[in-house]
Amino acid sequence: MESRCCNLRRLLSVFVLSVIIVGCASYNSEMSNTQTMIRAGNARGFAESIKEKAFTDGKDQIVFLFEYGTAMQIAGDYEESNKAFLLAEQLTEIKDYYSISNISASILTSAEVEQYKGEDYEKVLINAMLAINFLMLNNLEAAMVETRKLNDKLYKYKYEAKRPYEQNPFAFYLAAMIREQDRDWDGAFIDYRRVKKLKPDVLYLKADLIRSAANARRYSEVKKFKKQYGFKDDQRIPKGWGEVVLVYLQGWGPQKVPNTQWRSIPELQRRFSYTKYMKLKVGHEKESMSQPIYSVSDVAVKTLNDAYAGMIAKRVAGRVAKELVAQRLAQENELLGAISKIGLNAADRADLRHWFTLPDTFQVARIAVPAGEHSVSAEGLTDLDEGSGEYMTPKTVAVKPGKKTFLLFRSVR
């Protein structure tokens, strides 16, 4: 009688445990309407729907903060977006340790049980997003703080001999532009040079390198790059002129789905976007095509490919552990063993958490113009250079001499 009661209790605990795991609202189910809501122009509505989860302690809090921050950025509420990104950054630092209980639990159940800590490339992009937000809020000092934080992180990754693709050319490019704005010419040149090493095909780079080297009085570098690129002058922006800079976040990054071969590990699915580039126009004469500087999809795919070995090992260990538990319980009661096996395997799901609302690529378009007021517009283009139907609302912006006027646009179709 006592043994039957004990077995029943165990059966109940295994059942409850499995129900909790399967029933714990998955992050993916929360994200199902994201794209539809944002495409319909309701980014704020989506943000509000996940606000509670973003600001409540939990294993998925960091990833909800990523989504909340991005949605608020798309809605143009940069202050609110910053609140989320700053908290997300703080949490990625606090949670950056190996939790024995979480790892043990994830082996026996699902990787989703573990605290989400963010991929390294996501952690770097938090600071890039914050820097963009601060630029939009016209807080150059805070934007500079973010670029320094970003540098510290990238330096740490380099020191820890992480993979080279963890380095982020967009972050360096953004930092270089902010340094130019802050008249830190030498710092700007160093950052442009870093971009050249990581992404040499950015068209603006040729002029950027020569101009920043000239401003930093690095004359040997000016000579070298002029010769290399066939330029005759220093590419300086004329006195009394400034720049319009469009920071363009294009499309949607890839989405994690269950692997077709083995459903308890994820794979990445690229998401299609009609709009691939933006043509920035200032007045009726000046226009420039945006230049892709960083591909989230490429980096995410490489990151996941490198993580597969560890993920598979963990899931194999999980299978063995589940078998052991089920066998042990089956020795006492066959039905209990069978049910626990079903329960534990049902809980074994692929961890599909990732920064879902990230764009596919980070791009920049820039045009030098005389200081004064200018009407600015931007048109989305497809791969075939045809209009995609997405436009940045035309606006009049003030350009100050020697300064940059930053604009932000996110395409979602």
């Binding site: 939790s99 043990s104 820890e160």
Partner: protein, 199 residues
């Protein structure tokens, strides 16, 4: 074997339940000594601010221009530039410097931030205040010195170890001559160890 199975189940259950449940700070207490060191994390803290301000104010009041002034010089605080990789409210630092200098009674300040309000009030009083209490424009005292500076940091991280170095440099410049009459800096270095494994 039986024990291992139970332990695995217990760990799993606990971590699943803790993952879904809310966590919040629920018990509070007043720390009566706000000057005690507070190094809860690797960020700029009020202890850093107190240390820096105490030393810089002592240095400034001991400087020739303040110590030997016939009347308390009038100073205007402009800006402490934040050149660190942290969001630090540098106005809070300059506010503390101003208050500590005023407490010493050797320096007076003009309030740059209040200028707009003062101008508006003077304009208002011109038509609305009684003659005997009315304040006229053009009577304000001009500053003798401006006080400004910058806050720099160097962060180094290797494995579990992290060091954060701060340097706060402040200077006072004579508005009439443009001569810098006082400048000093205060350095701080803090070391931290990161937890790699936990429950």
């Amino acid at each position: 074997m039986k024990n291992i199975t139970l332990i695995i189940l217990m760990i799993t259950g606990l971590s699943v339940l803790s993952g879904c449940g809310p966590k919040a700070f629920v018990k509070g207490d007043y720390d009566n000594n706000v000057n005690d060191a507070n190094l809860l994390n690797d960020k700029w803290s009020e202890s850093d601010m107190q240390k820096v301000v105490r030393d810089l104010v002592a240095s400034a009041t001991g400087s020739y221009s303040i110590a030997n002034a016939k009347r308390p010089p009038v100073v205007m605080v402009t800006r402490l530039q934040n050149k660190t990789s942290e969001h630090i409210d540098t106005q809070s630092i300059t506010d503390m410097v101003r208050v500590e200098l005023m407490r010493g009674g050797r320096v007076q300040f003009v309030d740059k931030a209040a200028r707009e309000d003062i101008a508006e009030e003077i304009e208002y009083q011109k038509n609305n205040a009684a003659r005997n209490s009315r304040k006229e424009g053009g009577q304000q005292t001009g500053a003798d010195f401006i006080l400004n500076g910058r806050l720099d940091s160097i962060v180094q991280q290797a494995g579990r170890d992290k060091s954060v170095y701060y340097k706060v440099t402040m200077q006072m410049t004579n508005l009439k001559t443009g001569v810098m009459v006082w400048s000093d800096y205060k350095q701080l270095r803090k070391r931290f160890k990161k937890q790699r494994v936990g429950l």
